[in-house]
Every structure is written in structure tokens, then in C-alpha cells.
């Protein structure tokens, strides 16, 4: 095992004890990138020089005993839709292929202030639209666990990088499952915090009312640690919420006896791979044996979640992506006349999936269709939210699979958008209702990782961190014994 394979939690301890230096960690990660990147394609940009400079600085602080935080000196990968000042931020799109932001996203500022080392910008589905990282304008990312398979998406680059040691941990963004699903596909931990927990300032918008930045890590501990640094109200994002931020690490190593876990009945219907269901039930049994009280609950409007999600997400996207018009930044396809320039720029600049969603969203908001689609979707969104509210009157958290299917082969689903959209069936409801969810590994089927998802009430991430940490710790012990 090399340094880049250790968890951030472990590395943090070693740095603090001065047993290893930030430069050593960085070198290990850079070495891994050199080895793996040609095959994996997890990054769009590797910021080697910046990282080296930062590691140098971190090492000085380490020597003086002036470490800025528990993540000082630890390399982090940032999804390429999170703005980094002076570093290309492309959203994996041709239209922003040359875009260098003049400012940092709030999360990036926070990470820099804490001393984290930015190692690069990760690959993703173009504008976060996809579930496989295949819609990237810069080629797909390979699942490091099994060659030829997708890493999930849209934060596939971040998940893959963490899974194979090309980064210690990473930031992703989650609009309909884009953190949790790739985490599950790559066998790592991914968390979507409560909507409003983390500032969206600097996150290139796909669907503003659903987007949320979150951590992708090797362990639940790392997630808790990283979450501590990125949460909090930001005056630049008025949808971020001013609530007290607990030390999420305090939820680690806790007892789970008596914790009430709900299984939403509607999540176990046709479409769920029976092998995944079996694995899932093993996890349920394990938690039950450990003292959790498991009961079935109902989220009756679940069957409308996917359509509701795609109506709202595409409507917002059609408007959010209007700014890419070739006038101010990004790629411009010069032409005679304004309208022609717009057309050519957007035709060349956007990929097929992005165009499809812009068209869909434009249609959804059009006069005569607005009431039937957009307004109705908002109403169903409220019903879905209500479902969860009622559910949480009975239980402390909910447990579901992350994906109804196993990681699939690259190219297998890309030509069938509807089939691709259904991959998000267990994850989109959380974005519609703003709830936090964490995806943690629960084993393998045919050498492919699968995950389980824990959901809690808004601003109550501690509950799922507690349960997830307990589960992951126990499973690691078990798996280690088996090996």
C-alpha cells in the first residue's frame, strides 16, 4: 500500500505527527496519476505545478507546527464544474474548453484556506448531465475497479480518482445522484449534503434548485472531515442556509442501537437487479443484528420522481445554459450575423445530451406547456417532499440501494437516454426534497462494486454519518478477516 491509497483521516494523523510530509503524499499521488491516468482519464486538468507549490508551503507549516487544519497538506481533486481562479474550468464541454474563471468558488476558497492541495480538475458528464461520464467532451473515464466499465456519473472523474489513488479525496456535485451513484460504482463513499448546507457559489449551474456540492472519499471518516470544511452559510449564495454546523466527526464511532431505519417499500419493485437486492438485504440484516430497528415505510409518490426530476432539471438547465452564447467567454464560432453566431457556437459547443436537455427544458417552459409540465412537476415535487416528511415522523433515517443496476459497460446505455435516466431512480428524490444522502460500499457482484444509500432529515447529516461509519467500519473488519 502506498501513501496515495491511505485515507485522508490516516494521512492527517501522519502529517500531524510529522511522520510523513505533504510533499511525500503529493509525490505518491502524482506517481499514481502518471501510472494510471492514461488508462483511467479521471482528470481534465492536473495542476501539478500549483500542487507542488502548495505542498511546499504546507510542508513549511508542518515544520513550524502551524498546520492550518486537519486537511492541511492533503491532495484533493475538484470536479471540473467548480470554479478555480486561474485554472481552466471546462464542465467537460467544448463550449468552455478554454474558460479560465476569474474567481474561486466559495468551497475552493475554503479548502485553500484550510491548506488542502488542489491536484486537478476531474472529468465529468458534460455540464453534469449524465450518469456515466460518457458525455464528457474529453472522452469517458474508465471505472478503475473493472476495465471497460463506466465509473458512473456525472462526478465519475472524482469517484475514479479517489478509487484508484489519483487523489486522496475529492469534491463532486450532485443534481440527481451525481455524487452518490459514481461513488457506488467505484466502491467509494459519496455524500450529498442537505440543499443549502454548502455554498453553490462557483458551482457551474446545471439545475440550481437541485445542485449541491459534496465530498467523495475513501471512507465515511474522510467525508465527515471534508464536510466540516465546506459547510456553512455563504453571503454570496442566498440559498445557503444559516444553521449551526456540528463537528461531523463527532458522529463517528457511535453506537447505533435503537436507531430506526426505514425501508421505502416503493424502492423494491421491478427494475431492481435481484442480486443487488440480495446484497442490500444482507446489509439490512447486519444492521438489524447490530441493534438498528428496521421497518418498512412508504413513499407513495416515488414512481413520479424521475419524470418530475427531468422536467425541473431540464427547465432550469435550459435557462442556466443560455449564457453560453459566444459573446463573453468560451468558444465562439464566428459567423455573419448574430443569430448565426449563436447557432453555430451552441451547435458546436454543446454535446448531444446537453442539447437534448436544453430542448426538453425549453419545451417544458414554453407558453401552453408550462402549466402542464413545469407547474405540475413543482406540485409533485411538493408531494415527494411531503412523503419524506411523513416517513421521517416514523424513522430516523432511510436505507435504499443507490442504483437499481450494476455498473455497466462503456457505450452500453449511451444511445438510450430513457434507460440511462432510470439509473437515477433511487437518488433523484433526495435532490427534489433537498435531503442529505450518503452512498457507501456494500460489497461486489461480478467484481463490480455496489452501494447502499442512507437518507436523513434535512440538516441532520450526523445521523447517516453515524450509521454509515458504523457499517463501513464493521464491513472493513469483516472483509479484512476474509482476505
Amino acid at each position: 500500500m502506498e501513501l496515495c491509497d491511505l485515507s485522508a483521516y490516516k494521512l492527517s494523523e501522519l502529517i500531524k505527527k510529522k511522520e510523513i510530509s505533504p510533499k511525500e503524499i503529493l509525490n505518491s499521488v502524482l506517481k499514481r496519476i502518471k501510472e494510471k491516468e492514461p488508462e483511467i482519464n479521471a482528470y481534465i486538468t492536473v495542476t501539478k505545478d500549483l500542487a507542488k507549490f502548495q505542498a511546499e508551503e504546507a510542508e513549511k507549516r508542518q515544520r513550524k507546527g502551524e498546520l492550518l487544519s486537519d486537511i492541511d497538506g492533503i491532495p484533493i481533486a475538484i470536479k471540473d464544474n467548480i470554479c478555480t481562479k486561474g485554472i481552466k474550468t471546462t464542465c467537460a464541454s467544448n463550449i468552455l474548453a478554454n474558460y479560465v474563471p476569474p474567481y474561486n468558488a466559495t468551497v475552493v476558497d475554503r479548502l485553500l484556506k484550510a491548506g488542502a492541495i488542489i491536484i486537478g480538475k476531474t472529468n465529468m458528464d458534460e455540464f453534469a448531465m449524465g450518469s456515466s461520464t460518457e458525455t464528457s467532451a474529453f472522452g469517458p473515464t474508465q471505472n478503475p475497479v473493472k476495465k471497460g466499465y463506466v465509473p458512473g456519473g456525472s462526478s465519475g472523474g472524482s469517484a475514479a480518482a479517489v478509487a484508484c489513488g489519483e487523489a486522496v479525496f475529492a469534491l463532486g456535485s450532485d443534481t440527481g445522484g451525481s455524487i452518490r451513484q459514481p461513488a457506488s460504482f467505484c466502491g467509494v463513499v459519496g455524500m450529498k449534503p442537505t440543499y443549502g448546507r454548502v455554498s453553490r457559489y462557483g458551482l457551474v449551474a446545471y439545475a440550481s434548485s437541485l445542485d449541491q456540492i459534496g465530498p467523495i472519499c475513501k471512507s465515511v471518516e474522510d467525508c465527515a472531515m471534508l464536510l466540516n470544511h465546506i459547510c456553512g452559510r455563504d453571503p454570496k449564495d442566498t440559498t445557503s442556509v444559516s444553521v449551526s454546523i456540528p463537528d461531523f466527526r463527532s458522529a463517528l464511532n457511535q453506537d447505533i442501537k435503537g436507531i430506526k431505519v426505514g425501508l421505502p417499500r416503493e424502492y423494491f419493485v421491478e427494475g431492481l437487479d435481484s442480486r443487488i437486492k440480495d446484497k442490500f438485504m444482507e446489509a439490512v440484516k447486519f444492521l438489524q443484528d447490530a441493534g438498528a430497528i428496521v421497518e418498512e415505510i412508504s413513499l407513495p409518490h416515488t414512481k413520479y420522481a424521475i419524470s418530475t426530476y427531468y422536467l425541473i432539471a431540464t427547465a432550469e438547465a435550459s435557462s442556466n445554459l443560455a449564457r453560453y452564447d459566444g459573446v463573453k467567454y468560451g468558444i465562439r464560432q464566428s459567423s455573419d450575423g448574430l443569430i448565426e453566431m449563436y447557432k453555430k457556437t451552441r451547435m458546436f459547443g454543446f454535446g448531444r445530451e446537453v442539447k437534448r436537455r436544453i430542448m426538453l427544458g425549453t419545451y417544458v417552459l414554453s407558453a401552453g406547456y408550462y402549466e402542464a409540465y413545469y407547474l405540475k412537476a413543482l406540485k409533485v415535487r411538493t408531494l415527494i417532499r411531503e412523503d419524506f416528511k411523513k416517513g421521517f415522523e416514523k424513522v430516523d433515517c432511510m436505507l435504499t440501494p443507490v442504483s437499481p443496476i450494476l455498473p455497466f459497460r462503456i457505450g452500453e446505455r449511451i444511445d438510450d437516454p430513457l434507460k440511462m435516466y432510470l439509473v437515477d431512480v433511487y437518488t433523484v428524490s433526495l435532490n427534489l426534497s433537498g435531503l442529505p444522502g450518503i452512498s457507501i460500499p456494500c460489497g461486489y457482484i461480478d467484481d463490480l462494486p455496489i452501494g447502499i444509500q442512507l437518507i436523513s432529515k434535512a440538516f441532520n447529516e450526523q445521523t447517516i454519518i453515524k450509521l454509515a461509519h458504523f457499517y463501513q467500519r464493521s464491513m472493513e473488519d469483516k472483509w479484512n478477516l476474509n482476505h
Partner: protein, 481 residues
Amino acid sequence: MEFEPLICFEVHAELKTRSKLFCSCAVDPDADPNTHICPVCTAQPGTLPVLNKRAVEFTIMAGLAFNCRINRRAVFARKNYFYPDLPKGYQISQYEHPLCEDGYVEITGDDGKPYKVGIKRIHLEEDAGKLVHEKGYSLVDFNRAGVPLIEIVSDHTRNPIRSLKEAKEYLETVRQTLQYMGVSDCIMEKGQFRCDVNISLRKKGEKGFNERVEIKNMSSFRFILDALQYEIKRQSELLKAGKKIVQETRLFDERKKVTIPMRTKEDAPDYRYFPEPDLVELDISPEFVSLVKEKIPELPAEKVKRFVEKYGISRSDVLILTKQRETADYFERCAEYTSNYKRLSLWVINELFRLLKSDSIGIKECPVKPKAFSELINLLSDGQITEQIAKSILEEMFVSGKDPSEIIKEKDIKVIQEKDVLEQMIKEVIAENQEIVEKIKSGKREAINFLVGQVMKKTRGQANAKLVREMILQQLDYLSL
């Protein structure tokens, strides 16, 4: 067949906030291009709007001044369309839940009675940037992008405007009220006050409504009235010929003074409004509204009433004095130092305005301090100086900013305190000009002007000509006895 026009306006007024609506860039219409821009107002990917509270206050102030209901729940919405001066590809505006609704603006109707023009809504939105067209290419200046605007929409069915005169009255009242509150400077030349107008015609006495036509692109009150006049003529001719009016948008051609078709209802763009997900809904509490209410100064109508009562000046003069809040304020500061309000108002309106106008400056920049101005009025009222001298002193005050007493001392102006001096001079002039006196006595009364002139010459113009004339007549009457 006689027709009456039904007119409603969409007035856009730029708010006088220090910073833009959604970022902290300064609002400065005179700045060099693209010097007041930032990631937010140039729509860099990932940026988010943060609402300017002051702009919300200003909008509510306008709502209260125009008797609107202030909605508890207010929502921003995106108006989607592509144009290079619109950096985000959408304008953040308000659609379904504006800040203010259902008010009225009270004007004097054509019948001389007060008339309450219906206001449908007032909402808050951001301005777009500006395009500069060069030969073969265009440049865009984003300084104005994100500057707060309010849109005041008057009603087409509930108490609409019914004539050109009312239209003018309405626009002037709206502009004056906004200026009074310091909500907007409303300078049309700077684009701070823009309007689109809707007009339809119907037969006098009819109750229904015909299709209406929207006219855009008018840059002054004059052009607005010209456009309306043209449109009334055009539509009434069509109606007389038994033709239908089509609902459409027309552009005003300032040179030819005609309106030309721009687009019909079918071509109207679909703006695909939807609630802005980047901003939370506003919850406007009654407490907040009352706090804002306290910030509203005395509005023109109340001020006119008070001026007439308190200072006993004619309503027509008060209307002139209160047209701009700064003038009214100036007058009131002067009024603290004199009780001769009538003369004061006359001198402000006639003399001070003339000087301000010839220097093309506003009353705010007036070099004559209110106290000094009143001192001059008092000297004049006490008969210590003549009108002519007062005028020349005022001119001097206007240049040097000095007090009247100072100027009188410096220039050694003879302050005529006693009529004796003047009487003595008149006697001399009469003695020196006996033939003229004879002429007057024989009935040629106009010859008296010569004598007045002679006296004025002796006093070096420092006497009051009217007074001199009276005194000469008195003397002559006395002689003839």
C-alpha cells in the same frame, strides 16, 4: 364618430441605489465602458445573485407612494431571451408575484377634477448592458447590466388614461414623485426613465375595449405624445373605415413622427418565465413596510397643499416652486429668514430661475445661500433698495456668493433710504425742463417718460422707476394747483 383613447404606460425607472441589484458594483452612468463589472454582472459561470435590500426598499416606497398593496410574498422570475447585452441569457425580473400591486396615481383629469389612474403593478428587475455599434462590429458595455429598475404598469381597464393631456400629467406626476423620494433621478436623456405605451380607441360612451397597440422606442415626453397623437389618428381612421385594429407592437420613428409595425401578437417572443431558483422568495413583513414608509418624504400633492396654506402663495406659483423637491426645499430654507413669502416666491421663480437657467445649473448648485437670498428680499421689501438694484446685487451674489450687505458696501451702492433725496432730484429735473412740463400740462402725458429718464440718470439707475414716476406726477399736480 368620435373616439376616446385608452392609454396605459409601462414606465421603467432606474433606481438610485449605490450598487447594482445583484452584486456590489457601483451604479455610474457616466463611467468608462466596462469599468463597473464583476463575475456576477458579467454572468461568469457559477456566479449567483445577491439581492440589494435598498432596491427592495425603493420599490416599496414607490408602491406606497402610488397607493399599491405591498405583497407579503414576492418572487423573482427569469425572463429568458438571447441578446448580447443580456449576459445571463435571461433577465431577473418579477412575474407572478411582484412587490406591489393594485394602486393608483392621482392626477388632475381633463375635467379639472382629481382622477385616480389605475396602477396594475410595480416590480423590481435588472437592467441590461448597452451595445455600441461600430462599423462592421458591435461592442458591449456591461456597466449598466444589473442596475436596478422598477417597472410601473398602469391599468388599461381600471381607470385608464383618457387623453394626451392626462398622459402628460400622469408621466410628470410619476417622474416627480420618484424624484421627490430620491428613488430615481428619472433623467430621460440618460435612459433613467423609459416608457412603452399601450393605446386603444373606442367610441365615446362605449364600454368594451378594442385591441390595443404597443408603441416602443420613444426617448422624450414630447415624442411619447407625438407617437400617441399619430396613433390616435391612425387608429381612428381605420375604425372609421370599418377596419379592425390588430394587436401589435409598433416602433416610433422620431424623424418622421410616425409609428411603424414591429411585430404582431403571433411573433411576440415567448419569454418562458419561471421562478428564479437562485433567489429565495421574499417575505415582506408589515413591520418592514412600516419602516420603509417612514422613509417617504412629503410628496408633491401634500406639499402643494401645505405651501398654499402656510405661505399664502397662489397655487400656480406653488406648482412651479414644488415641481422639484430641491426648489421647494430651497424656498423653505429661505422662508425661515423672511416673512415676505409672495415676493420671495416671485424672485425665486423669476430672477433666480433665470440666472440658474443661463448658467444651466440646478438649484442644488445654486451659489446664493438661502439666508443671503432672503436678506436681499428683505432689503427690497423695506424699500431700502430698488428692484433694479436688487437685480444687479443678485447677479453679483450669483457670481461671487457674497451676501447683499457686503456687495452694497463694496460697490458703494447708494441705498436710498429717504424719499427727500429723490424729491430734491425731481424738483431739479422739473426746473431744468420747463418746456417738457408745459407739454405734459397741455395733455401730452407720455412726455413724462423723459423726466423719469432724467431722474434715473441722476440716480445712476438706482431709483425705482415706478416710484419716480409717481412722485413726478405728484409734484406736477402740486405745481398745477
